[in-house]
């Protein structure tokens, strides 16, 4: 038998085998618990389940847009941009001002829809610009500093953006009218609102567009190269600074779009939004495998689903435990399977 085949047959040292067994048991247990919970609820109230599930998936799409920003940035400079969630929040506030205050649109009509579309472009530019600025002013200088420094700066930046949101939006949540039509369509007894349809109609092309940029364009290739090995990328003639700025730009644009979609669908803005949704989005990115774009999407949809089910179903923890449920998921993943669902484990080279 060839050496390679022999190695592949070998499962690992006794310690490693034990650990793998624990992980497998843990994963199966958790999946079983989840499956049972879902089944119980489907049997109990199938209509409600479908309703809540659709809502959950819709939220998941929103989380995906935000999660992509986290995973892109982490993939390229190994930094958790704590301020990303707050960028989403500012984008939501920006959208509310753009549509309702500056262009005074508060009804569902062609003028409103036109404003919506222009806002989509405007807010994506807004998100991109702010994100690039943040990177340029704060993170770039610390790119080669020990890990603690940029992390602390990111936390500080989050606070800064929080403050801007506080001043711009006020300290209490604000309600905003929406320009999205109010009616629902009914499929198989499940009410699906126009808002949900809009989210999918806007969100999915955005994701596909991002996929195209990352995989087919020169900039995207530069991004992936830099993410793998910064020094090698420089030697290949890639301008690392520009590439990183580009990454922040598209991450910021996604967050911007998410801000608009959130604002028009949920209709409220709150300066605290960034913290809540930011952590959920980051959990999604980690669940899917940090650095993996499709992982972020899959993770986000899953988290959205679980959270929606938890908040909306009768047999669940309920909304006041929402944050804790998501955090517990994050902790469990990081402890047992830090690579996430689709990620790869990397070893440090000595």
């Amino acid at each position: 038998m060839s050496a390679v085949a022999e190695v592949q047959k070998f499962k690992g040292t006794p310690g490693q085998i034990r650990r793998q067994r624990i992980e497998r048991i843990g994963a199966i247990t958790i999946t079983l618990i989840l499956a049972i919970w879902i089944l119980v609820n489907i049997i109990n109230s199938p209509q409600q389940f479908a309703q809540v599930a659709v809502l959950g998936l819709r939220n998941g799409l929103l989380y995906a847009l935000i999660a992509l920003g986290y995973t892109l940035v982490y993939g390229i400079i190994e930094l958790i941009n704590f301020a990303h969630g707050d960028l989403f929040m500012l984008s939501a506030v920006f959208s509310s001002y753009f549509i309702t205050v500056w262009f005074k649109q508060d009804e569902s009509n062609p003028a409103g829809w036109l404003t919506f579309i222009s806002c989509l472009f405007a807010v994506m530019v807004f998100g991109a610009v702010i994100n690039v600025l943040i990177e340029r002013l704060a993170y770039r200088r610390l790119r080669n500093a020990p890990k603690l420094a940029p992390l602390i700066t990111a936390v500080g930046m989050s606070f800064l953006l929080n403050f801007i949101g506080l001043k711009w939006n006020g300290s209490t949540p604000r309600q905003w009218p929406t320009v999205i039509p109010d009616n629902d369509i009914v499929i198989a007894g499940v009410e699906i609102s126009m808002i949900t349809i809009l989210l999918f109609v806007v969100g999915i092309p955005l994701l596909l567009g991002l996929n195209y940029i990352v995989n087919e364009t020169k900039n995207g290739k530069a991004m992936r190269a830099t993410a793998q090995d910064k020094d090698a990328a420089t030697l290949m003639g890639i301008n690392v600074n520009k590439t990183i700025a580009f990454t922040f730009a598209i991450g910021g644009a996604m967050a911007g779009a998410a801000g608009l979609l959130y604002q028009q669908s949920i209709g409220t803005t709150n300066y605290n939004l960034g913290f809540q949704l930011g952590l959920i989005a980051f959990t999604s990115a980690v669940l899917g495998g940090i650095g993996n774009l499709w992982g972020a999407v899959v993770g986000a949809l899953l988290i959205g689903l679980i959270q929606g089910l938890n908040d909306g179903l009768p047999i669940a923890f309920g909304q006041q435990w929402s944050q804790s449920v998501v955090f517990t998921i994050l902790i469990i993943i990081l402890v047992f399977k830090p690579a996430g669902l689709l990620g790869k484990v990397t070893t440090e080279k000595v």
């Binding site: 700066t153 420089t234 944050q323 804790s324 990081l334 402890v335 000595v350």
Partner: protein, 393 residues
């Protein structure tokens, strides 16, 4: 052949200078609050000025933050582990006070050198013992939280600690009905805790001077613990981990155990601070514990200089004073002067955010750098300059 090298004693001398300096400052504060303010002959102007800019309640509250910042200093400053959820320990400490020093458990009647009458319902254990209990309960939670998570990389660890910093306070917030049990009275809070006994009397809500001394004592304890540990093998192990975890483990330092130790000792301070704070505000209120406090504490450690107890004391005192009293006092002063109506107190987030960002960008070693730390946060930049792809800064 053995060489005789004289051991430099500048560290010891510097420590002594700081001890003397802070002792004098503490003594002055105590004298002001215990003797000067109650004096009838005190000119009203001075009385007003003191109460406006440095009311004793604010000073005592700042000391609570100092105690906790010293705890966080052990985790972040010595061991280099970014803990963004320290508020969890503060909460646990507070509720320890609420459980063991109040009428919360009204259906029990346990007294142990308590400071209230023997008929009072609830658990009433002596304040000084509750301090120790709170400290150790928090240390235990530090180990429980750390055990599964300290293996993670610094970024993930930061995030997970943030998670715990959210979950634990949320448990208390929703604690009125925690799987059927009331563990915290939820948002109503635990409204009264026992007074502190000091032998001759029980300290009431206006005994600021004596409470100041007690809080100073707690600070001294934490400083003492920090400096002693730092000198011994645990402190060396922490510094080694902070600098190069891999090399440390290959030199025989057990990573998990050592990191857990830093969590435990750091959390202990949270327990002390939590119990102290409960007696300060005479109650335990769930909405007080929010994640922003963890970040405040981090800013205090960063401002003061990670790993330097003297700097951290200063940084914590300054920032907590500014946040608690300074901003609003300054705001009132400014608005009166210029006839404006600026809400200065709302600038807290801006202040702390800027402190973190600016300190990291320009003065990473803190206001009072531990002399060696000047280099730890610049180490890798120097290596970068020496590498083949010498990048422009």
């Amino acid at each position: 052949m053995s060489t005789k090298v004289t051991k430099p004693n500048n560290v010891a001398r510097s420590n002594r200078k700081w001890i003397i300096g802070y002792s004098i400052a503490g003594g002055i504060l105590f004298a002001i609050y215990q003797f000067l303010l109650p004096w009838e002959g005190l000119p009203l102007g001075i009385y007003d000025a003191v109460y406006r800019w440095m009311p004793p309640a604010a000073v005592n509250e700042s000391l609570v933050y100092v105690i906790m910042a010293l705890g966080l200093n052990i985790v972040v400053g010595y061991a280099g582990l970014l803990d963004l959820g320290y508020v969890a320990f503060w909460a646990i400490g507070g509720y320890c006070a609420g459980w063991f020093m109040s009428e919360f458990f009204y259906f029990l009647n346990i007294h142990f050198f308590g400071s209230v009458a023997a008929q009072a319902p609830g658990i009433h254990i002596n304040f000084w013992m509750v301090l120790i209990i709170g400290g150790f309960v928090c240390a235990l939670f530090g180990v429980l939280i750390g055990a599964p998570t300290l293996r993670l990389k610094s970024d993930y660890l930061a995030l997970v600690t943030l998670g715990f910093g959210e979950i634990i306070p949320q448990v208390f917030f929703n604690g009125e009905n925690f799987f059927g049990y009331n563990i915290s009275n939820g948002t109503k809070g635990i409204v009264q805790v026992d007074p502190i006994p000091i032998g001759v009397k029980n300290l009431g809500p206006f005994d600021f001077g004596w409470k100041l001394l007690i809080f100073i004592l707690l600070t001294v304890i934490m400083v003492f613990i920090s400096l002693r540990l730092r000198r011994g093998r645990l402190g060396r192990a922490w510094l080694a981990i902070r600098e190069d975890e891999l090399a440390a483990s290959m030199m025989g330092v057990p990573l998990m155990r050592t990191k857990l130790a830093s969590y435990a000792v750091g959390a202990f301070a949270g327990g002390l601070g939590g119990v102290a704070f409960a007696t300060h505000v005479n109650g335990v209120y769930a909405e007080r514990f929010n994640f922003a406090i963890s970040i405040f504490l981090l800013a205090m450690v960063v401002l003061g200089g990670m790993g330097n107890v003297w700097g951290v004391i200063l940084g914590a005192f300054i920032l907590s004073w500014v946040n608690g009293n300074g901003l609003s006092a300054f705001g009132a002063f400014y608005n009166e002067r210029f006839g404006t109506d600026v809400d200065f107190a709302s600038f807290t987030f801006l202040l702390f955010g800027l402190v973190l960002i600016l300190m990291m960008l320009f003065k990473r070693e803190g206001l009072l750098p531990e002399s060696r730390l000047k280099m730890v946060l610049h180490v890798e930049e120097l290596d970068e300059a020496e590498s083949s792809t010498g990048k422009k800064k």
